[in-house]
């Protein structure tokens, strides 16, 4: 009996203890607290990948792909071949730190369209493409992109050609939706909904047949699945312009909006939102700034073209300020060619301008805009394959300073200051004219890598 009692008590105690044991803490959810957004095309600054959707090498034209880097870097070029199973064409260039370099596409592949991408081993870095030959067109490659790209500035009037290129350098097919609006309203582009772009390939969409006689056409591209990099090409007259799409911003700066021989120049502002947006345009002329030269309202889902033909002064640059995010480009056309490029959404303390050079009869020009009210002192470093040629300039407030490329050895520019300013470049020649925005360098701790004192090199 005693034994039974003892056993019962023991068992009961064990049962109670077992029942009272608290369950352990559950393990944390995997990746708890970690937000992993679906990455876009962005890559780290010190190992950036730049995508160049528009490069061509054929019998009548060739492309120079210019690269520039602040740190010594290897640049590996890859040009996918749009034939499944075919290996891509590859090339390599090396830049000093800082320095500029580049390749001529025809040395690598001569098969017409050859969009590609460049992988840098260090940075910050940047790249641009200049197409010469029967046309002269240039613009920056892109290393990052918005969720939705906007392409204002094109038109499909008679004799013009507007082509949207969708470049997919990734191993998975991309699905994108292309939409647009123009001066007549939102365009019906149902057939361009969720269109597929094969892996490591590209697809061109011509709008001159789809949307004829549009004077101011704004195209937008959004990725539904996968990733792709769009670019727009506009052929008007004998020249061609290509430009990368823009995001939306409340401010846009254009250090260059006009050039000799480009009579019809102006800004194209696109408001994709469902509300009207008020915009104010400051102009920077050779005679000085004209603040709020234009104050306009852009209706919802509408473009607005602001021509400078009626402005009495010679307009060189412009700044757009909007009450809500808009997209804006400069579009210029004339006997000297056709030029379109996007603006810079903000000023910066350092700018890289890869590919800015003289190339035979084609003359490159650096444009620096000080849209503020204070004087800005800048250091201009001409990047070559060897030494860096430094010089200093003072930018008066509200002015644009053009600087012609002096040496044929120059392959790009690095411009820096302790203050914020804007930069762009142009190239002009017998075949046409091109405008290219500068590429702002990321800032760390409020300073630039040059810290306003220029880079080691030669002071020119």
């Amino acid at each position: 009996m005693r034994r039974t009692l003892l056993l019962t008590v023991t068992l009961s105690a064990l049962v109670v203890v077992a029942a009272l044991l608290a369950p352990p803490e559950p393990p944390p959810e995997p990746l708890a607290g970690l937000i992993i957004d679906r990455p876009g095309i962005e890559s780290p600054v010190d190992a950036a990948i730049w995508y160049c959707p528009w490069a061509q090498a054929a019998a009548d034209r060739d492309s120079f792909i210019g690269v520039a880097s602040v740190a010594p870097a290897d640049a590996n070029f890859t040009f996918p071949v749009a034939i499944p199973g075919e290996p891509p064409d590859e090339a390599k260039a090396v830049t000093l730190g800082p320095g500029a370099s580049g390749i001529t596409l025809s040395d690598v592949a001569q098969r017409g369209d050859s969009p590609g991408f460049i992988e840098f081993s260090d940075g910050p870095s940047s790249a641009s493409v200049t197409v010469t030959g029967d046309v002269l067109t240039a613009d920056d490659c892109v290393a990052s992109g918005p969720g939705e790209w906007f392409f204002p500035g094109g038109s499909t009037m008679e004799g013009e050609r507007l082509v949207l290129r969708l470049f997919n350098p990734f191993p998975e097919a991309a699905k994108l939706t292309v939409s647009g609006f123009s001066e007549i309203g939102v365009e019906a582009l149902g057939e361009l909904r969720s269109i597929s772009v094969n892996p490591r390939s590209w697809r061109d969409i011509s709008f001159e047949e789809l949307l004829r006689q549009r004077q101011t056409l704004v195209i937008s591209v959004r990725a539904d699945e996968g990733l792709a990099i769009p670019a727009m090409s506009w052929t008007s007259g004998s020249d061609e312009a290509w430009w990368a799409g823009t995001d939306l911003s409340e401010t846009w700066e254009f250090p260059i909006v006009r050039h000799e021989g480009l009579r019809n120049s102006g800004l194209v502002i696109a408001n994709p939102s469902s509300s009207a947006v008020d915009v104010t345009v400051d102009l920077f002329t050779v005679d000085g700034p004209q603040r709020a030269a234009f104050s306009l309202t852009v209706p919802a889902q509408s473009p607005l073209r602001i021509g400078f033909g009626e402005v009495e002064a010679t307009v060189v640059g412009a700044r757009v300020t909007a009450s809500a995010p808009v997209s804006a480009v400069v579009s210029a056309q004339g006997g000297a060619g056709t030029a379109v490029t996007g603006g810079a959404p903000d000023q910066a303390r350092s700018w890289l301008l890869p590919g800015l050079r003289n190339d035979g009869l084609n003359q490159g020009t650096l444009w620096l805009l000080n849209s503020g009210d204070e004087t800005v002192s800048v250091t201009i470093s001409a990047l070559t394959g060897g030494d860096t040629l430094n010089s200093k300039r003072i930018l008066e407030p509200g002015t644009i300073t053009p600087i012609a490329v002096g040496s044929d050895d120059v392959g790009g520019y690095l411009v820096s200051s302790v203050d914020r300013f804007g930069a762009a470049w142009s190239i002009t020649g017998p075949s046409g004219t091109a405008f290219v925005a500068g590429i702002p360098l990321p800032e760390e701790d409020g300073t630039t890598s040059a810290d306003g004192d220029g880079l080691e090199g030669l002071d020119g």
């Binding site: 023991t10 393990p27 990746l31 970690l34 990948i49």
Partner: protein
């Protein structure tokens, strides 16, 4: 011995014969010589062969010549002798036996003639009228047990063999074959002699008119007869026949070992003993073989002529089993089960056999998916490596291939399973199936045997065994995917039974019992080391609550456990034992409330029943069950998954004990007091309820293991040609041990799925840290060519076992191709990679845990993408980052084993053989009369 002229026929021109009697017993010899003396056709001489001084003296007294061996007879026969009449000392030939042998044998031109043998105690009962044999040399008499002689076999027939009780052999044949092999027991020696005779073209017949009575029973041990049969095969058969016949004979022996327990025999130790005996005596067998076959006039086809199909032993076993079934079931019951049910319980007088059969059937049903298809590949439920040699080599100081590899020790279950795999001809799935099915059967019978020691009936014992091996506690343990819990649990009742009972008897018996206990605990330790303390705990609990003589149980259990530890070398010395206790999901078993309630009812009924032994056992079981449940809930104190499983095993043991005692109360209820017996049926119901829950485990047929998750899933990643690549797996369904990336499980495996060699990952080494760094870089957005970054690790594929936000990182890579057509997210690495690559980029293929050139070309150097270790070779070794570069390796690279660990593993193997030998010797001595 003098010949009696009144009874002797004149043989002036008749063939003459000498009688040769093999003897070792003087009394038996006397009777035989007297019978020879009464022959109407007397032999011209009588020889006695063998025996001691008394035999020799008896031979002399009866005028027979004594010789120590047959060789002495050849020289003493003298000329003019035509036949040798070989007799055994238990033979009592009737007066005309020799005459008929000579006359009828000569008439049919027989070279060997045998007599009809009847039982001396009952001369109407037939013992032998010649034998057929099966292909394995086992004799098949064709007689029913106790069959009466009604002259139904009285015709001279060619047979495969005659009984060596009385054989008339032509003298030249007798000499040419060297007589009967004295090393072999009688029956197999006769078969051997007749086979050799037939190879020489001799005719072997039985002469039924020659009748010999046989005194007593054949005393030779069964295992000796088996050994003799094998020796006869070795001597007679062609190499081509031996190649298949010997292995199949072994398999037949295994089958016999599985079924024989039903008839109270345990031939397994004898099977191995026969094998060892033949191995030891192989040289003499080969010498006799050469002698037998060099002058043969016939081939194996002649031997096959008088052989029965199949196995004579299995046939005899089947007949024995059938007889026992018939004896247990009254006439008519077997004709319809429904009639048996209607007939009522009282018609089933001894259901133990039936329940035992059902228990085995349950075991087969509960594991049918494993032996019928394959082991479910999920979690830690993994198949062994395809090569048991490679597995043993890896265990014995070799390379651990898990993840990016390391020299860390492997689990002892790898070695244990590899040993079984040799028996299944290297079939990995077969080995696991054998282990699991055998475990179920062994666990059931072990539990019955354990309870039988306290007088608990077989029915209750078998049912308790079913609860042990199929109950919810094992189900919970197996749900952790560690299939090693099954053999560990099966061995526990054997281990506990062997340690709770005193090691009494002769020294040999004591050693055998101790060895048995050590072996059983060794099985527990090999397959589930965390369960090693259970026998000691169980013994301690028994000492605390048990009845009867139980002192020393804890000491015996502790000694056996300590003695079992060397079996686990080298693992026991190098393993992270603490890690085993804390790794995995935290322990917290929550058994279903209804089961707890049923158990509580059963315990209460048993404890208050008043039956002292059953109460004690029930209380013991309750302590084990509750204690085990408590251990399985210690997750809050850091206990890991293996501790939970060990607690569940302990609980399973306890539950089985309680159920066994609760069910045993039913047949004993009339012996209980009024108060104690009042609730017996309630307790039995509770026990039956728990028994019913075994259906939950038996239903799926996976022995409690979860459903397969990996078989076939990664077949796409297996290269058709070229060297293998690794798969980087992410997600909760990753098999075996995993590493973590921000809480997300991952590891690398070689497709199609990892084996047991790869279940446990090593402590992170350089390569593992490098891979973790690459993955962290990806998380930080710093990598856009993940394929290029993962290629040095040999990763050709990235697979997510379930959708994960991490996929977004791989979607945006320039060199990882997503495959959308599969059931789960997969990314293919476009960068060419392999685990082992030589200097010109050719991938090397696996060779065990090493690698070799695919086309066996020599190479100058090879890069092996495993954690660097200087023992990779041959050739000069160099570390490249975290990998190995071996210069001038020839066409093979391998890991040079750690010699101390290899020695320890070999020592453990030798220790195992010693233990088996000690245990087997004890069994054999108990089996032999």
């Amino acid at each position: 011995m003098s010949t009696d002229s009144s009874t002797t026929t004149s043989r002036a021109s008749a063939p003459s014969a000498v009688a040769v009697v093999t003897a070792d017993d003087a009394e038996l010899l006397t009777g035989c010589l007297e019978a020879i003396g009464r022959q109407v056709y007397g032999p011209s001489k009588v020889f006695v062969v063998g025996g001691d001084e008394t035999v020799r003296r008896v031979a002399g007294e009866m005028d027979a010549s004594w010789r120590p061996n047959l060789r002495g007879i050849y020289d003493s026969m003298g000329p003019g002798i035509d036949y040798v009449w070989a007799l055994r000392q238990r033979a009592r030939p009737e007066p005309e036996a020799l005459r008929f042998l000579i006359e009828d044998g000569a008439r049919v031109d027989a070279s060997v003639a045998g007599s009809k043998v009847v039982d001396a105690a009952n001369p109407e009962t037939l013992v032998s009228v010649g034998y057929a044999t099966d292909v394995f040399g086992a004799p098949h008499s064709g007689l029913q047990a106790g069959e009466l002689d009604q002259q139904q076999y009285d015709v001279i027939r060619d047979v495969a063999s005659v009984a060596d009780t009385s054989m008339l052999i032509r003298r030249d044949l007798f000499r040419g074959l060297g007589g009967v092999d004295r090393m072999m027991p009688p029956t197999s020696a006769a078969v051997d002699f007749c086979q050799r005779a037939r190879l020489r073209g001799a005719r072997v017949v039985v002469i039924p008119s020659s009748v010999v009575q046989y005194v007593g029973k054949d005393p030779s041990a069964r295992w000796r007869e088996r050994a003799g049969e094998t020796r006869a095969m070795i001597k007679a058969y062609s190499p081509l026949t031996l190649v298949w016949a010997l292995p199949v004979a072994f398999l037949v022996g295994l089958v016999e070992s599985v079924l024989s327990p039903f008839v109270g025999r345990f031939p397994l130790p004898g099977l191995f003993a026969a094998g060892f005996w033949n191995a030891y005596h192989l040289p003499s067998a080969l010498k006799d073989r050469w002698n037998a076959r060099r002058r043969r006039e016939a081939n194996d086809e002649e031997l096959f002529r008088y052989q029965v199909n199949g196995s004579a032993r299995l046939r005899a076993l089947y007949e024995d089993l059938s007889e026992r079934i018939r004896a247990r079931f009254p006439e008519g019951v077997l004709s319809g089960f429904s009639e048996a049910v209607e007939a009522g319980q009282q018609r089933v007088r001894n259901p133990a056999f039936f329940v035992g059969f059902l228990a085995i059937a349950f075991g087969l049903i509960a594991t049918r998916q494993i032996w019928g298809q394959h082991l479910p590949v999920v979690g830690y439920s993994l198949l062994p490596a395809s090569s048991p040699t490679a597995a043993l080599g890896a265990y014995a100081g070799g390379w651990n291939p898990a993840g990016l590899g390391s020299p860390e020790v492997l689990s002892p279950s790898v070695a244990a399973t590899a040993l079984v795999q040799f028996v299944t001809f290297a079939r990995a799935g077969g080995a696991v199936a054998v282990i699991i099915v055998a475990s179920f059967v062994a666990g059931v019978f072990g539990m019955a045997r354990l309870l039988r020691a306290w007088g608990i009936g077989s029915v209750s014992g078998y049912l308790a065994g079913v609860v042990l091996m199929g109950g919810p506690a094992l189900g919970a343990a197996a749900a952790s995917t560690r299939w090693g819990v099954i053999p560990a649990l099966a061995a526990l009742p054997w281990a506990i039974g062997a340690t709770i009972r005193p090691w009494s008897g002769s020294p040999t018996t004591r050693v055998a019992r101790a060895a048995g206990a050590v072996l059983a605990i060794g099985v527990v330790g090999a397959y589930f080391p965390v369960a090693l303390p259970i026998p000691v705990l169980a013994a301690a609990a028994w000492v605390a609550v048990g009845v009867g003589r139980r002192s020393g149980a804890v000491v015996r259990a502790a000694i056996a456990t300590l003695l079992a530890l060397p079996l686990l070398m080298p693992w026991i010395l190098y393993a992270d034992l603490g890690g085993h206790l804390t790794s995995g999901d935290k322990a917290f078993w929550s058994p279903a409330f209804v089961l707890v309630a049923a158990l509580a009812i059963a315990v209460a009924v048993v404890v208050v029943s008043g039956e002292p032994v059953l109460s004690a056992i029930g209380g013991w079981g309750a302590v084990l069950a509750v204690g085990g449940a408590l251990v399985a809930r210690l997750g809050g104190f850091g206990a890991g998954a293996e501790v939970e499983a060990a607690g569940e095993l302990l609980a399973a043991l306890g539950v089985a004990l309680v159920v066994g005692t609760a069910l045993e109360l039913v047949p004993r209820r009339r012996q209980l007091s009024r108060s104690g017996g009042r609730f017996v049926m309630l307790g039995a119901l509770a026990g039956a309820f728990i028994l019913m829950t075994t259906l939950l485990l038996g239903g799926p047929g996976r022995a409690g293991l979860p459903a397969d998750e990996m078989s076939g899933s990664l077949d796409f990643a297996v290269p058709v040609d070229g060297g293998p690549t690794r798969v980087l797996l992410f997600g909760s369904g990753v098999p075996g041990d995993t590493r973590e990336l921000e809480g997300l499980d991952y590891r690398v495996i070689v497709p199609p799925y990892p084996t047991t060699l790869e279940s446990s990952l090593n402590e992170p080494r350089l390569g593992d840290e490098a891979l973790a760094a690459v993955l962290q870089d990806m998380l930080d957005g710093r990598v856009r060519r993940a394929g290029d970054a993962l290629a040095p690790f040999g990763v050709g594929w990235v697979v997510f076992t379930e959708p994960s936000p991490l996929q977004a990182l791989f979607d945006a890579q320039l060199d990882m191709v997503p495959l959308r057509s599969l059931d789960f997210p997969v990314y293919r690495n476009e960068v060419s990679t392999a685990i082992a690559v030589d200097f010109d980029g050719s991938a090397w293929v696996p060779a065990g845990t090493g690698y070799r050139s695919a086309d066996r070309r020599q190479s100058n150097s090879v890069m092996v993408a495993v954690n660097a270790d200087y023992r990779w070779g041959p050739g000069a070794w160099e570390q490249s980052d975290w990998r190995n570069v071996v210069a001038a390796p020839g066409n093979r690279v391998r890991f040079k084993p750690y010699l101390p660990r290899r020695v320890m593993a070999i020592a453990a193997g030798g220790y195992l053989i010693l233990l088996l030998g000690a245990w087997g010797l004890g069994r054999i001595r108990r089996e032999s009369p």
